[in-house]
């Protein structure tokens, strides 16, 4: 009997010792996750999407107010935004894992309250893949490669959708009306170059620079990509009537939901690339030489 107890104890000690993964998050903190999390709070839309892509949507118990995909997460309690998380509401949900951006404030408080907080912030395409692998480890998901393969496949499909006539076209991608551009150094810029397009905002200007609006007129992009909410104001900007892409209606606009695909470095990035590719296929139909 004593022997058995000892053996059982040893076994428990073994599993105790073996169980748990320790990860270093983007804040440089070592985070130990003892067992597969069953109550997850995600405070960043791209992380919410990644959790669901890994098949663990059912374990989400709360999200931030910007998380809107997949549909099901809209029914979950909203716990503020990434920049203003509601500490009390999060704590009340008793999550065993809180996912947040590395820039998110309030995570110190959450950790001090005894919650396990993992801070990840995907910045570009390679980073999004790294985050998928890391989250898979944190969530005890055996095979993240399926998700990554799906992303790769969607990117490849997007590339195949691109018409020959659109290759090497100069693109201006506006992310904000100040105007802020998506530069070649951003993950949107990476998507553009993956599709064989040339960004008029070079990598030396940083990922999302506020540019002199004159730059767009000078560079004369072949195609302008912009949210449809600010499209109607483009031609009214001083001097932008001179932009030939606007004169010739060589414009790709996207709705807010479509914009989520384009601006979130998450598992649906490949779908964002497809969205762009389909627009270029409309602008440069086959058999029509530009």
């Amino acid at each position: 009997m004593k022997k058995w107890a000892l053996l059982l104890g040893l076994c428990l000690a073994c599993t105790w010792g073996w169980a748990g993964v320790t990860l270093t998050d983007d804040k440089g903190r070592k985070v130990t996750i003892a067992q597969a999390p069953k109550r997850i709070v995600s405070l960043l839309p791209s992380l919410t999407e990644t959790v669901c892509a890994l098949g663990r949507c059912k374990d989400l118990v709360g999200v931030d107010r910007y998380s809107n995909f997949p549909q099901g997460v809209r029914k979950l309690p909203q716990l503020g935004g990434g920049l203003d998380p509601q500490i009390e509401a999060i704590f009340a949900l008793k999550p065993d894992l809180v996912l947040a951006a590395s820039s998110s404030p309030g995570t110190e408080r959450l950790a001090a309250l005894g919650l396990t907080v993992l801070q990840l912030e995907p910045k570009d395409q390679a980073d999004a893949v790294r985050v998928v692998r890391m989250l898979a480890q944190a969530l005890y998901v055996a095979d993240p490669e399926l998700v990554i393969q799906q992303m790769d496949l969607e990117f490849a499909q997007a590339k195949a959708l691109m018409p020959v006539g659109a290759r090497g076209k100069k693109v201006y991608f506006e992310v904000g009306s100040a105007p802020y551009a998506a530069g070649a150094a951003s993950f949107i810029g990476q998507t553009l170059s993956h599709l064989g397009l040339v960004n008029i905002v070079g990598p030396e200007l940083g990922p999302f620079p506020k540019i002199n609006p004159e730059l767009v007129v000078r560079a004369q992009p072949d195609v302008v990509v912009v949210a449809d909410s600010s499209f109607s104001t483009l031609a009214q900007r001083p001097g932008w009537g001179l932009v030939r892409a606007l004169q010739d209606h060589k414009v790709c606009t996207f709705s807010q939901e479509e914009g989520d695909l384009l601006v979130r470095p998450g598992p649906r990035m490949g779908q964002g690339a497809q969205l762009l590719a389909r627009c270029f296929a409309r602008l440069y139909p086959k058999g029509q030489t530009p």
Binding site: R65, Y66, G81, G176, S177, A178, P179, Y180, L205, G206, P209, K210, I211, N212, P213, E214, L215, V217, R218, D228, S229, F231, S232, T233, Q236, R237, P238, G239, G241, L242, Q256
Partner: protein, 346 residues
């Protein structure tokens, strides 16, 4: 007798105008590639032969750079004028054009307009252009009216200032609340709150000029009133000046000037406060020419800030409001040190 930089206002006025013209001309060269478009200017003035690129450049200079520089000057001049009026009316050196809640009112106006246009922007493109400027304008005027109503008139300066602070805080909170409900508007609003000269066109210039000319004219005509007010309300009243009506007229003028500037360039910081102070330290202050000089100074400040915003990290841009604070603040500090013996802030 203080040691002024310029004893005669005319000299300072001419100097400010010359500097402005020089900066506007430099602004024609300053584009997305930095300060290197000599050819463009040459071609525009007919000094150099035109080539394929210079046609486009000429259009860029004419449609983007010129209205931008001139618009920056006009907005700065409006803020300088409003600042000088505010300091005279409230007899308070810390008064600025945003004091009576006009800035918060304009912000709320823009914010509500953005919310209202969210769904129908494509349907009514003209509204987008006119709507935002109009909303800022109406918001600024309504806020000032609200301040006046709260203070039950313009009679007591302290009451008025306090009401202005309350209105500013309440309207600011309302804006934050609306943004909380429509978080996707945050980015557009941030652009407005930092101030920007990036999209000033000829139409904006025309509207700002239409506000500046009568405002300046009125201030010049009412210069005697301003001098009277500077002596204190009782003295002014004993001089036979119509204190209450003139306060109303001056405050409405100041609200209109502020609204016009804010509607086109957003909340540009510090020009309205700094321009009158810098002017006051350079030349003997008399309200009539003081207001005009403060206006010219405000214009010069903003033209310089706009130019730097474009050039320093071209083709990226710095927020113009940051530069007005840096240039104006640094210059004002230097002047204050220089006049240390001259007495306190006046």
């Amino acid at each position: 007798m203080r040691d002024y930089v310029y004893q005669r206002p005319v000299v300072l006025g001419l100097l400010l105008c010359t500097a402005t013209v020089a900066l506007v001309l430099t602004g024609m060269l300053a584009g997305s590639t930095g300060l290197d478009d000599w050819h463009a200017l040459g071609a525009l003035l007919g000094l150099m032969p035109a080539d394929a690129d210079s046609g486009m450049l000429a259009q860029i200079v004419w449609q983007i750079r010129m209205p931008r520089s001139i618009g920056a000057w006009l907005a700065g001049a409006l803020l300088g004028l409003a600042g000088a009026l505010a300091q005279a009316v409230f007899r308070n050196p810390l008064a600025d054009p945003y004091l009576l809640g006009s800035a918060s009112g304009a912000s709320l106006g823009v914010c509500l307009a953005l919310v209202a246009m969210d769904g129908s922007l494509v349907a009514m493109p003209w509204l987008a252009r006119l709507g935002l400027t109009g909303a800022a304008f109406v918001g600024a005027i309504l806020a000032v009216a609200m301040t006046a109503a709260l203070a039950s008139g313009m009679a007591q300066t302290l009451r008025l200032l306090l009401a202005g602070v309350v209105v500013a805080v309440v309207l600011g909170a309302a804006t934050s609340l609306v943004l909380q409900m429509y978080p996707h508007l945050l980015q557009s609003m941030q652009g407005f709150m930092l101030g920007s000269t990036a999209f000033v066109g000829w139409d904006s210039c025309a509207l700002m000029l239409a506000a500046l000319l009568p405002g300046l004219g009125l201030a010049m005509v009412l210069g005697r009133w301003l001098d009277g007010l500077a002596l204190g309300e009782q003295t002014a009243a004993s001089l036979g000046l119509p204190v209450q009506p003139m306060r109303w007229i001056l405050i409405i003028t100041l609200a209109l000037a502020t609204g016009a500037a804010v509607a086109h360039t957003g909340l540009i910081a510090f020009v309205g406060l700094a321009a009158p102070h810098i002017t006051r330290r350079m030349v003997r202050w008399g309200s009539r020419h003081g207001v005009l000089l403060a206006s010219l100074m405000g214009g010069l400040l903003l033209v310089a800030a706009d130019l730097l915003a474009r050039v320093v990290i071209a083709p990226r841009e710095l927020p113009v409001g940051v530069l007005t604070a840096l240039i104006g603040g640094a210059y004002l500090l230097w002047l204050m040190r220089r006049h240390k013996q001259g007495g306190g802030v006046s």
